[in-house]
């Protein structure tokens, strides 16, 4: 057993040193009826590395990877190129195989990278404070809603019709359990500003997304003004963090809390997880934030160092009065994010964002040239919704046969919302001109 260093002789010696007859002695408190006499029935025995590798590789080959051909799926997760050095850095033993930095004297590596991450995320979003990450964008969104209720001492949350439905559903789950009323506006491609009209004196916050799940960009500043006039907070959401290289930031729009998915920088698609949730807010709400925070301090020699701080918000100290039950952050994905962001810098990010935007513009032009297709997203970054004359389900299935993965049908996200003929497609720097031509050609053939 290659992961178990004890030998039979060791085990016998140790039992002798302990004064036990066998390991069964240690399990004496287990009810007799629950003591298994052998391995759990119905399960296979151990295997060598070769056999496991072979099995897992066989399963992986049943999947069509994004890099295998033209690929245009977005809706909350995006195919980007990750520099080779990022994966090397996160596989350093000292990062990969360490724990939460509760002992700061021997965890300055993790802590300094956390401090750098928090600074980067605050700068990207134009917000004053960022935490050390959440599980993902959707759980960050849910926590933002609950936090807004704590801050305002109100009990209603209003979500836009362009908020990613998984984010909306996740938020609904957490809010309803906590007794918070949730209002969700009808799905709308360009309806984020509606939030400014419906916000009222009961609302703890309104939650809007830009770019939204249909790719639409919206300046939420008017919503911020309307919300603040009613004593409510503006929570903004983004699922494509690369957009922040070009688009107006949550901070510039007057957001009180801004959350989003950081996967696009440094983290592979990975079939949906693990990802890295970004959580930011105005500094006056700092002590109401969920999750871990890293802060600067000095050590006994007066040297700069970093520690986890403001932990009186957290469950391990505050237990039932904590701001959230969250314990872990998304440590290694956070490291991947900060390493990739460090490689990009402002210059690289701006260039990357521009390439994404141009790819989406090229895609939109190519689609608009196909007879019967209509681009529906009015202002966009790297993702657009378009309508087809045939059901999106059939169109995408036909595209798949030509090895083009054409996007997400809106009806998968919003069943029963009358969007059966709408497809949402993203184009990143990984999409080539050839991919776009193949997409348009395949569509023309299908329609």
């Amino acid at each position: 057993m290659r992961y178990l260093p004890l030998t039979a002789v060791d085990r016998a010696d140790m039992l002798k040193a302990i004064g036990a007859k066998s390991v069964d002695d240690f399990y004496g408190d287990v009810p007799a009826a629950a003591r298994l006499q052998g391995p759990v029935p119905g399960l296979p025995s151990h295997q060598g590395e070769l056999e496991v590798d072979r099995h897992m590789t066989r399963l992986s080959r049943k999947n069509r990877a994004a890099s295998d051909g033209p690929f245009f799926v977005g809706c909350g997760a995006y195919k980007h190129h990750i520099p080779a050095s990022v994966d090397h850095i996160i596989q350093r033993s000292e990062f990969l195989t360490t724990y939460t930095p509760y002992q700061p004297e021997i965890a300055q590596g993790t802590l300094q990278s956390m401090f750098e991450f928090q600074t980067q995320v605050a700068a990207l979003t134009g917000m004053e404070v960022a935490n050390a990450s959440m599980y993902d964008g959707s759980t960050a969104c849910a926590e933002a809603a609950v936090m807004a209720c704590r801050v305002t001492k109100r009990n209603t949350v209003i979500m836009s019709g362009g908020l990613h439905p998984h984010y909306a559903d996740t938020t609904r789950t957490l809010c309803e359990a906590a007794g918070i009323k949730v209002i969700q506006l009808d799905p709308a491609i360009d309806g984020e500003l509606e939030l400014g009209k419906v916000v009222n004196d009961e609302a703890a916050c309104v939650i809007g997304q830009s770019p939204n799940v249909f790719g639409t960009l919206t300046d939420l500043s008017p919503v911020a003004d309307a919300a603040h006039a009613k004593g409510a907070l503006l929570v903004t959401v983004f699922t494509e963090v690369v957009s922040l290289g070009l688009v107006k930031t949550p901070g510039e729009m007057g957001a009180d809390i801004a959350v989003g998915e950081g996967q696009s920088i440094g983290v592979p698609l990975g079939f949906g997880g693990p990802y890295v949730g970004l959580f930011t807010c105005k500094s006056k709400f700092m002590r109401q934030m969920p999750g871990r925070l890293c802060g600067e301090t000095v050590d006994a020699d007066g040297k700069r160092g970093f520690v986890l701080t403001l932990s009186t918000r957290e469950q391990h100290i505050r237990r039932d009065k904590a701001t959230s039950n969250i314990c872990t952050n998304s440590g290694l994905c956070m490291l991947a994010f900060t390493a990739h962001m460090t490689l990009l810098g402002d210059k690289g990010l701006t260039q990357l964002a521009t390439l994404n935007h141009e790819a989406a513009c090229d895609l939109a032009d190519a689609l608009a040239a196909v007879k019967g297709l209509k681009v529906l997203t009015p202002r966009y970054f790297n993702e657009i919704a378009f309508s087809t004359p045939k059901p999106a389900d059939d169109v995408l299935a036909a595209l798949e046969k030509q090895d083009v993965i054409g996007g997400v049908r809106a009806s998968r996200l919003f069943p029963g919302a009358g969007m059966d003929n709408v497809i949402i497609a993203a184009a990143t720097e990984c999409v080539t001109a050839e991919d776009i031509r193949a997409y348009a050609a395949a569509l023309a053939k299908v329609l």
């Binding site: 408190d29 990062f95 070009l246 510039e252 997880g273 402002d346 141009e358």
Partner: protein, 523 residues
């Protein structure tokens, strides 16, 4: 000093005070001084070579960024060096025994890392057509099958993203079941032992429950009489949250009775599976009468802790709670495996807990680990983990104060009794271990033991490593009893000395700013 004919010294001359030698660079031999990226990078640098944009007219509709990010970049050699230098300030399992109790810091096999990076797993999108990801669904289903069989539970929710998220899944399922029974408004009280992890009460409160604490008995288990007294009027009881093996490293020997009492009271039994490593393959929680339990894939099934995540917390559910499991979940159809993603298809489900389908990257790693060990190996995992902990307990018993009589499960718990009148405290012992080259044990937890020191070695340590660790801890214990003042200021040999946590919390500095540059790293 004697020299040879080429001028090289033939003996090493001792240098007084070598430990306090200051260097121009701030580096100490292999340990390189390193500033923040904001101090060493610049905005005109980048470590990526991207294609040149064509310069087309923007379609952002005027929703454009005002000020630039101002974020510095580094070229690849600088970035790699930056992170490697930082990494050398971290302790890690790959460096040595990591005895954090309740955290199960076991070796992370590299095969897991390899398979997780196969393009068919790492480079697939959660929303691409399900016909193109059947292998990924098979991985989830195969892992789910193992988890169901290892726990003897009929269902498992795979989407929870961490242990605490799994607790949330379990408690939301209990809430949904109570609502379905028409008792959602009346049954609000959740019993939680004082020894529980902080996540337990925090989770229950997040689900709208109120906490009723149960005392610990002198033997470190749940005080059965106290529990019974809290069930006399049980019409408002929603359930119990109990860790087993518990946070004292002991098996709750009355667990069947506790389960029966809770069920008779009309409540559900949430078992915190944080300590599953002690019993995996030997005891199936489903045979103990539980209704829900999360499994930390990053503990029992060896996915890396990564400096604080990502975790993964699949949650097994009993027949009574299974209908309320969160979406998405996998069903078998004639065309293959398929996700049920919407509430409309699963009206009893309590809803969605996160975007997409859970921590796939952890599923592939955990499955590779489970297949490697098999049912026989996993049983050996539990036995060796428990044997290792008992060996530490036996070796240190003469010098330290075991918190309870008898054998332990996978972690050995000591109180600070042996430090009485020495002036040395638990934290000093912990920091002393750092100087000996070890990560400290969990300290001051569980709360029911004064000055608690909780040591979990795991099964991936050799006897020689355990002996070395015990020798180190024994020597620290002896120094403590002799009131060695150097322990109060330990660590002395770590990359940093004790850090001022009060200062950090009093005037929080949570990011670097150009207006008020942070202190220089090494003066």
């Amino acid at each position: 000093m004697t020299m040879n004919s080429t001028g090289r010294p033939t003996s090493i001359s001792p240098v007084d005070g070598a430990g306090t030698l200051t260097t121009v660079t701030g580096s100490k031999g292999l340990l390189q001084a390193e500033g923040l990226i904001f101090e060493i990078g610049s905005t005109d640098k980048t470590g990526v070579d991207l294609a040149m944009p064509k310069g087309i007219k923007s379609r952002l509709g005027g929703v454009t960024r005002g000020a630039p990010t101002g974020l510095p970049g580094l070229t690849e050699p600088e970035a790699v060096r930056h992170y490697v230098r930082l990494s050398q300030r971290n302790y890690a399992i790959d460096l040595g025994l990591f005895p954090l109790g309740s955290c199960t810091m076991k070796h992370n096999p590299r095969l897991n890392e390899k398979v997780a990076r196969l393009p068919g797993f790492a480079d697939v999108h959660p929303m691409q057509p399900q016909s193109t990801v059947q292998g990924a669904l098979e991985v989830i289903e195969e892992l789910a099958d193992w988890l169901r069989k290892l726990t003897n539970m009929p269902a498992v929710a795979m989407s929870p993203k961490a242990g605490a998220h799994g607790e949330l899944a379990g408690m939301l399922a209990i809430r949904a079941a109570l609502i379905a029974r028409g008792e959602g408004e009346t049954r609000k009280r959740v019993l939680v032992p004082v020894s529980a992890h902080g996540t337990n009460p925090a989770t229950a409160v997040q689900c709208g429950f109120i906490i009723d604490e149960i005392n610990a008995a002198p033997d470190g288990r749940v005080d059965l009489e106290d529990l019974k007294s809290k069930l006399v009027d049980s019409s408002d009881v929603a359930g119990i949250m109990l860790t087993n093996p518990n946070t004292c490293g002991l098996f709750e020997r009355d667990i069947r009775t506790i389960a029966d009492l809770i069920h008779a009271a009309g409540g559900y039994f949430y078992c915190d599976g944080a300590n599953f490593n002690a019993i995996v393959g030997r005891v199936r929680p489903g045979d103990l009468g539980i209704d829900a339990m999360h499994i930390n894939l990053h503990k029992t099934f060896s996915t890396p802790h990564g400096g604080g995540g990502p975790g993964s917390g699949p949650t097994v559910l009993s027949e009574a709670l299974a209908p309320y499991a969160p979406v998405p979940f996998i069903v078998k159809t004639a065309e293959g495996l398929r996700f049920v993603e919407h509430h409309s298809e699963a009206p009893d489900s309590f809803g969605r807990m996160c975007a997409f389908h859970g921590q796939m990257g952890m599923f592939t790693r955990a499955l590779a680990y489970i297949l490697s060990h098999g049912a026989d190996g996993l049983r050996q995992v539990a036995e060796d983990a428990v044997l290792n902990a008992n060996y530490i307990l036996a070796r240190l018993k003469p010098l330290m104060s075991p918190a309870f009589e008898g054998y332990c499960m996978h972690e050995a718990l000591f109180s600070d009794g042996f430090l009485k009148d020495t002036g040395v405290e638990t934290i000093d012992i912990a920091k002393g271990l750092i100087d000996e080259g070890y990560h400290p044990m969990t300290m001051y937890f569980p709360l029911v033991v004064h000055g608690a020191m909780l040591i979990e070695p795991t099964e991936t340590e050799s006897k020689a490593e355990l002996d070395r660790f015990c020798d180190a801890l024994a020597s620290i214990a002896r120094r403590a009893v002799q009131k060695d003042p150097s322990l109060k200021t330990a660590p002395h040999l770590a990359p940093a000395r004790r850090l001022d946590e009060t200062r950090a919390a009093r005037s929080p500095r949570l990011k670097w700013t150009p207006e008020a540059p942070t202190l220089k790293a090494a003066e």
